[in-house]
């Protein structure tokens, strides 16, 4: 069974909401990434999205753009990230998904990329610039290797939702806003109506992401879904730290706070 399913089943039994955290692989360096994953797991993260840094991340706001650029400036390559995942897997069975732009997979070689994902222990892929219409290029190869392609839904999806979620696996990535990633003070989407629509078409767990800037917002989002995705806020906290060790410490403290709030929320 895929680790993503195992995790959501486990959380369901415990009546807990999933805390999904995004970090950029290789920011500030790949050794720190390995330690960071292990530390934020310990702090309560349930699933980790590892961002493969990309030169032209059109779905991302400034915080993640800059984080990607730092990683690329350090020369991090896909093969380094694969090795790091292998190292993490020796010590942890937390579900891991890559957040990866399509050109990275395409140029690296779709089959090679997916085979390596399975070898090192990646459980799924989130590909923000590969909509439903392009999924056919990759999905058979991915499913044969038990790599999930996480379906993404946006507030503009409307009648596309049904098609997007047909045969969806893992969880549904529900984009909370019209816009790119990055923290917001508040969001204007009618989450209740939006999530009702999504729930109509899919039985797999839902997680809401984009725009979460603090514990209160995470708590708010978690009322409507089985999980909440936090990215830019964690990276911001790390980037503002004076050194790597402090960065890991602050990220872990923030994750811990988030997870506690999500636990409290179950009533």
């Amino acid at each position: 069974m895929n680790r993503i399913d195992l995790k959501f089943n486990e959380l369901k039994d415990k009546k807990e909401k999933a805390l999904i955290t995004f970090i950029t692989a290789g920011d500030p360096d790949i050794v720190t990434t390995v330690n960071l994953v292990l530390e934020i797991e310990r702090a309560g993260a349930d699933l980790i999205e590892l961002g493969i840094p990309y030169s032209d991340p059109v779905a991302d706001g400034e915080v993640i753009q800059e984080s990607s650029q730092r990683a690329l400036n350090n020369g991090v390559k896909i093969r380094d990230i694969m090795k790091a995942v292998e190292e993490i897997r020796n010590k942890s069975s937390i579900p891991l998904v890559y957040l990866v732009y399509y050109n990275c997979i395409f140029k690296y070689g779709i089959e090679k990329f997916i085979r390596e994902c399975r070898q090192v222990g990646i459980d799924g892929l989130i590909i923000p610039d590969l909509p439903l219409e392009g999924r056919g290029e990759i999905i058979d190869c991915a499913y044969e290797n038990d790599i999930y392609i996480i379906p993404m839904v946006a507030p503009t999806s409307e009648e596309r939702i049904k098609k997007i979620l047909k045969d969806g696996r893992g969880f549904v990535y529900c984009v909370s806003i019209k816009g790119v990633t990055g923290t917001r003070d508040r969001i204007s989407t009618d989450l209740r109506g939006y999530m009702n629509l999504i729930n109509e078409y899919s039985k797999i767990p839902k997680a809401i992401g984009f725009g979460v800037s603090n514990v209160e917002m995470a708590k708010g989002f978690s009322k409507y879904a089985e999980g909440v995705i936090v990215g830019s806020a964690i990276i911001k906290a790390m980037a503002a730290s004076p050194n790597k060790e402090e960065g890991i410490r602050r990220a872990a403290a923030f994750v811990k706070e988030l997870k506690l709030a999500l636990r409290d929320n179950i009533s």
Binding site: V58, A59, K107, Y108
Partner: protein, 393 residues
Amino acid sequence: MKGRFGQFGGQYVPETVMNAVMELELEFEKAIKDESFLEEYRYYLKEYSGRETPLYYAKGLSEKYGGAKIYFKREDLNHTGAHKINNVLGQILLAKRMGKKRVIAETGAGQHGVATATVAALLQMECEIFMGEEDIRRQSLNVFKMKMLGAKVTAIKSGTGTLKDAVNGAFRDWVTNIDNTFYVIGSVMGPHPYPTMVREFQRIIGDETRRQIIEKEGRLPDYLIACVGGGSNAIGIFYPFIEDKEVKLIGVEAAGLGLDTDQHAATITKGSLGVIHGMKTYVLHDEDGQIMPVYSISAGLDYPGVGPEHAYLHESKRAQYVAITDKEALDAFKELCLMEGIIPAIESSHAIAYALKLAPKLSKEEVIIVNLSGRGDKDINIIAREMGVDLHE
């Protein structure tokens, strides 16, 4: 996937904009068949932009090079000084028809930005232009023009600060303001329907050329030559001739400091298959798919991708793609100034340079048409710098 040219093209965009591109596709298909829309488009092309543009026989230049007859399609004589306005008029009229209040655009050399700001002023739309920081530095005159025309110019600091980053910036804005904003893409690139839509708004160049050359020579040309960054002026002149197999189509990319260096923008010549800005096409990228920095003296040609229809014309061998260096383009620029009294855009100078290489090898009966896509006023500063002349007072 929709909007394919062979294996190229498609719609590789975030889910948030999928409904918007699908709506655009529908509205465009309706508009392009609607006589009242076309009438309005043609009205502005004629009365506002000054079409049709001349097909000019460069007698002096042809005689000097001693081979084929060289004609120039004078897109530089359009309002705002380049072919860009053909497409912008079409797209902004469509935006208006769709009830949008705000238009955004990316720009490299600033020509598309100026054209968009111009038509936005004409049709009273709110306008924001995204431009890379490096390009803002290189093209300060155009930046000032856009501001005079009432547009907001937003500098993009990320990445290399050039055209591709301006596209990223415009794209992010579009995702955020999808309800009220129309993204006016400046070339035959991006997700479907843009490559097709922009081609349809630029084919006026080739349609006129065809009529004009038959009038002047009583036959079709032997060669059509145009510069290719994204490739809109080239598709515009090529498209109506695609079925005429005897007409050879040549796209000229920017070889920058040379194809043997990493300082060029020759995407078809040196790139490989990839996905960029919503389309599958040739891309200059490394083995991990990271888009590589590109370079050309011309801000309008330094783009690491190319329109998917060009990729297809290359793969199917219907068109040939070559590359011209900065130096060759500069020499051609000077030559056109001295021999014909025309100051061409540095982009178009790449096409001229190739024509001047080719012409002497051909017979006097053969006919070359070069798309003179823009005028060179905007490039005077950079040309002066290259020549070691200080224009600052």
